[in-house]
Symmetry: D2
């Protein structure tokens, strides 16, 4: 017999899997289910999820459908981008960064509805279960968490569908067979993994990609854009002010058109295995490069290098699910402190899969043509200072060499 | 009056600037000059340098011309690539990594010829003076270093040319005017900076690029290649075994053709100013991506993440000129230790400016399809373990949340 | 019913708890038990363990009793000391560093005896279970691990003793009641925790300490000793050459006499909770301070600071049980590289709880009285170099200040 | 001829050296001098400095004498202590942390008095020149800095005294000979270096110590005290609320009495040489240990370990003079973020040179006796969770071992 649960808030997409979970929770736990469906920019209609929930007997006041796009970009994506976070050198953390927001809403809804548990549809092999649950426990240490994929015995597609049919859950025709891969999508990215992608020697087939055109099919002419930043965050595209989500959506359109942001990666999961994922982050890739571009002229070297040293740990924390942890918040405090003057404009060239920074300017620029110039600098820099600078930097190496230590 | 110097080894390219330096050393220091000209793959004839040295009165046995290409790639470029080193997120350190090798030879030649000093043609505003001199002092703490650009008063082009003519140094016609930018080249890269590149808002004009075609002019069809690695180093291209320098040269050809490895960067110099550089690293960019690709399936997560955390410091050390330092060597020892199993084959797609890893395989692969699969894994992984894993990772966060600490 | 196990190697102390485990393995798993008892310098007779194992029916060739003291100090304690490792600022990792060696022998004995499992007596709340098992899995990925404390229901002292008596295991009188705290001991330290130590506001009662006199009872006169180091490892005490274990044992005697190495700490366990421990590391504390002392004159600043930056992670890895991991080995490679010239003599003053370095000398000393002196240094250092050094270090800060960025 | 300077603010102690500097500035630069004398708790009368300045012709409104003790402890010492900063493992940075405050006042006074330069009495071999000047340039990029010790030729004691006498500067009898060592003092510490301390093998003679009794002469009975912390800062001693400077002064008295805080160190200077220093930080040592004590029960592991990893770099920045740098401020932001719940009471035992934490309690304590107990914990922790925790932490190590990679 299961733990006693009175009411559970389920992260509900309206798809077959979470519909089976909804019913299974009702059947196996004998508890009330509250559904929560979030619009994170995944590009799906949400009203069908409401209709399905109603069909499963969920009362209206227990069906939550929230548009979280602005909160997602403003409070999660942008703070992460301030850090130039890339996991294992490349991955822009599109799935990882959405999970803590979903958990935050699950916990809020649990409080509002008096629920004592939450449930999610992540499997027992992946990172998402960890991300959902660490966030949930950090926000409510007494919450119960139900992860059906770790509990039930519906471990093959066939059994899942049999169970669905036995419980009067409609099974769409295209869900009867095995899907060739599994996906996750939000305003920042679409990820695909599993099945046909499991051999890391095989190139990802083009039909897996859904958010970007193939670079080979992208326009033959490059397109130039500008992004304006204020205090480390994007605020305008081509001079037009935009909210965070609007800006990211517009960059997604541009990235799609030019085939930007595809990534084929073998990565290390927190649960200890390697997996192969395919990511499309069209707008995010452009944004990330532009952010580094504006930092390059507005951030002092000391700040910039410290950020680079802290980044791998920061990215790992987000990947592993520790968004709501003291150490992520400490790093964020340091990163945010660095962004006070990261304002200005970046010019980016988009062309067949590439986003290249080709210009940057800022009222806060620390770049000094007067100091750096090959020409006479009128005393802005005394080249003789370099001799002393080198001599003292070399002193310890010379003392070491004198000891014959090399 | 200058310090007394008996004999000086000059890093001599044969160009106008180092020819002026050669003569200036003879005139101002009244000392013998030994010339050292290195083939680092910069793509220039070296025999003209010999002829010019002879004309300046240097005896044959004091003219050194060395082909250092294999040593450069094997002992400097490849070890650095094992670390996935990129300065400030992007720069592949093409100039930085060549300087310690030149200094090493200058010091060796000083020993062989009984010289008590070395000289170089780097200016007082740049990083190269630091790199040359730190390396030199680390290898011979008692060497004298002469940096004419920090000493003389030939601080404008006009004065330099007047001095040259006054001292019978031939001035080629195309050197009479100001060069629109300055360059450095070796087998790894060509860099350009200064003059027409000094406004970071202006896009780099296409004529600055010399090592790569414009991506827009690159072939319309992608090209696929494979690179084989053994213990972290590249050993074959498309199945054909190659020496380090041969492999890098072949990748340069491929990169040139497909417009790969261009980088327009505002960076932070060690001497304290920001500068804008334009880099072309065609083969290096392909190689660097392939190396990360083979690591992705052969390197354990613990090793991979530690490498990512150490990398910014490692890259900074090389950029700043500390190749011959205990701390760079310590990091190298750690990095090299990690590469024992980094062997296998990577497949890379080259297309209009991009080099993308699309496949990787290895006899040492740590990727386990059996463990990661969405299908039944026959007990390779018990999903129930994840519950305990999450619970204990969450424990401290729950204790914190119970204290109302959020 | 338990997993099928054929033969299990048990880490066996001969005490009541592991005797119960031995019998429980025989009864519950119906398997053969091989006993392994290690002399790590814990200061107990080992032959009684043999006698007890014989009584429990273990055949002679399945009773392993090994003196591992030299291996322990040489291959585990000293390499760790090279890193100046202290967990959370203070703890010298006395328990943590012994676990991987025990696991290593368990796995070796399993191979020799054809056993398919190992077992240990660590509880489910502590770090030791993690350390034993991570080491074991790293050395033999297919080994089965039995941790009876996580499996059985003998969760109170009363039930354990009832079970022992029901199975004819002799229960010494002094083991019938609850022990006021639990201890672990080896040549490096004795730790105590639990029960009477569980309130972190209460001072540790003096009767808990067993390895050191109370500083208040230590001699009123200080004692001076010297320790000689070669390549980072201690080799002699007061000029007398000693093996690693002999040296540590001799330092333990000195530390005991002078009340050195007591530590009362609230620490963070890997399993997520805080615990309060009391540690006595008499010889280790003296050795650790002496090692830093010899490094202070023989280690270059770059190496020393890099070591300090890497140390917390290194210590955490050992504390968490990742001795046999690629990342610990990478860090060890870096650390060991740094120790090539860490040779010389350190003079230490021992007095009522303190071990203070008061002198250090080395043929490899990088300390230069000639350079540092307040007196005329005869040109060893040109004070004017400092002006340029400061000017270039300040340049970026001045450019920043000019932007009004403060 | 010197650079043209109109008016210079001099860091003026009133002692012989800075009196010579004052006159030398008047003579050599022909400029007005403004004197600034700070009370940082060095324990000297300041009014004599005023009288001497008047004698040298400085008008009243150009004589600044400020009591900076509270600002020093509140805004410099305490923030640094929040980080548990120790340079090279031991040094509590007593001199380093005072320099930026002095520079801050120098720059403020320069602004108030319309001065275009500042001057200090630090030599060209030490760290203090760097600290003074980096801070000054960071706060006013256009300030001129005069460092007479790097400029003049009064490089021996004899010449300095001759110059003083030739310029009618009174030379106290006890300043005629060479001082056996040089000192710096403030409320945090007294440092001594040079001369009789220059041989690192010789024990520091007892007469060098001025702030602490010899531990051998300290009371034979230990003394117990409590320190209360709020948000990471000390606020009370033995239950009595105190301002920062008052608290530190009271701890200094206690530390002096018990011989606490002596340190004999060979350290690495930023200018590239090793030096030997003797430090006495009586109150600071007690405070630093108490701060770690209160953190041990109130700081989450993630925060604590991140702090430990960042500390060496933070300490190095302060030691090297980069207090007013973006990277120090970023680290401070992270550290300060961590201190929100670092409140409670620590009990410390003082005895013959040692300060040992023996108790700690807090309303914010994260230590849970219920979770950690050896007794039945009523379900607070499920020991079976540990099995899954270990299994997933081991997974990557097992996959690695399967590849025969060990």
């Amino acid at each position: 017999m299961k733990d006693s649960v009175k009411r559970v808030v389920l992260a509900y997409s309206g798809g077959l899997d979470t519909s089976v979970i909804l019913k299974w929770l009702q059947v196996e736990y004998g508890c009330e289910v509250v559904t929560f469906t979030a619009d994170l920019g995944q590009g799906e209609e949400l009203e069908p999820a409401r209709a399905k929930a109603v069909l499963m007997g969920i009362p209206d006041h227990h069906i939550y459908i929230d548009d979280l796009r602005e909160e997602f970009v403003r409070d999660f994506v942008f703070p992460m981008m301030r850090a130039n976070a890339r996991y294992e050198g490349d991955y822009l953390l599109g799935t990882s960064i959405a999970r803590p927001l979903i958990s935050k809403r699950l916990i809020e809804i649990a409080r509002e509805t008096g629920a004592d548990a939450i449930a999610h549809g992540a499997t027992g092999k992946g990172n998402d279960q960890v991300r959902f649950e660490l966030s949930a426990y950090a926000l409510n240490p007494d919450i119960k968490v139900i992860a059906p994929w770790r509990e039930w015995d519906l471990t093959s597609r066939t059994r899942l569908i049999e169970w669905a049919e036995a419980h009067q859950i409609p099974v769409p025709k295209d869900k009867r067979g095995e899907s060739p891969f599994s996906t996750d999508a939000n305003l920042l990215h679409t990820s695909s993994e599993g099945k046909c992608l499991e051999d890391p020697w095989e190139e990802t087939p083009d039909y897996v990609y859904s958010r970007t055109v193939n670079p080979e099919d992208a326009p033959d002419a490059p397109e130039y854009i500008t992004i304006d930043f204020e205090k480390g965050d994007g605020v305008a595209l081509n001079g037009e002010a935009m909210s965070p989500a609007t800006l990211l959506a517009a960059l997604n359109d541009l990235g799609r058109k030019h085939g930007i942001g595809r990534l084929d990666l073998v990565e290390n999961r927190f649960v200890g295995m390697k997996s192969r994922g395919m990511y499309e982050t069209p707008g995010g890739e452009i944004y990330a490069r532009a952010h580094r571009g504006i930092e390059s002229i507005t951030l002092d070297r000391g700040a910039a290098h410290l950020k680079d040293e802290l980044m791998p740990k920061y990215a790992e924390l987000i990947y592993n699910g520790f968004w709501f942890s003291p150490e992520r918040e400490m790093l964020q405090a340091a990163i945010d402190h660095s962004q006070a003057n990261v304002s200005g404009t970046v010019r980016v060239k988009l062309y067949k899969g590439s986003a290249s920074v080709v210009g940057r300017k800022s009222p806060n620029s620390l770049y000094s043509e007067k100091v750096v110039t090959f020409e006479d600098d009128a005393g802005a820099y005394d080249q003789k200072d370099a001799a002393g600078f080198i001599k003292l930097n070399a002193l310890r190496l010379r003392l070491l060499a004198r000891q014959g230590k090399h």
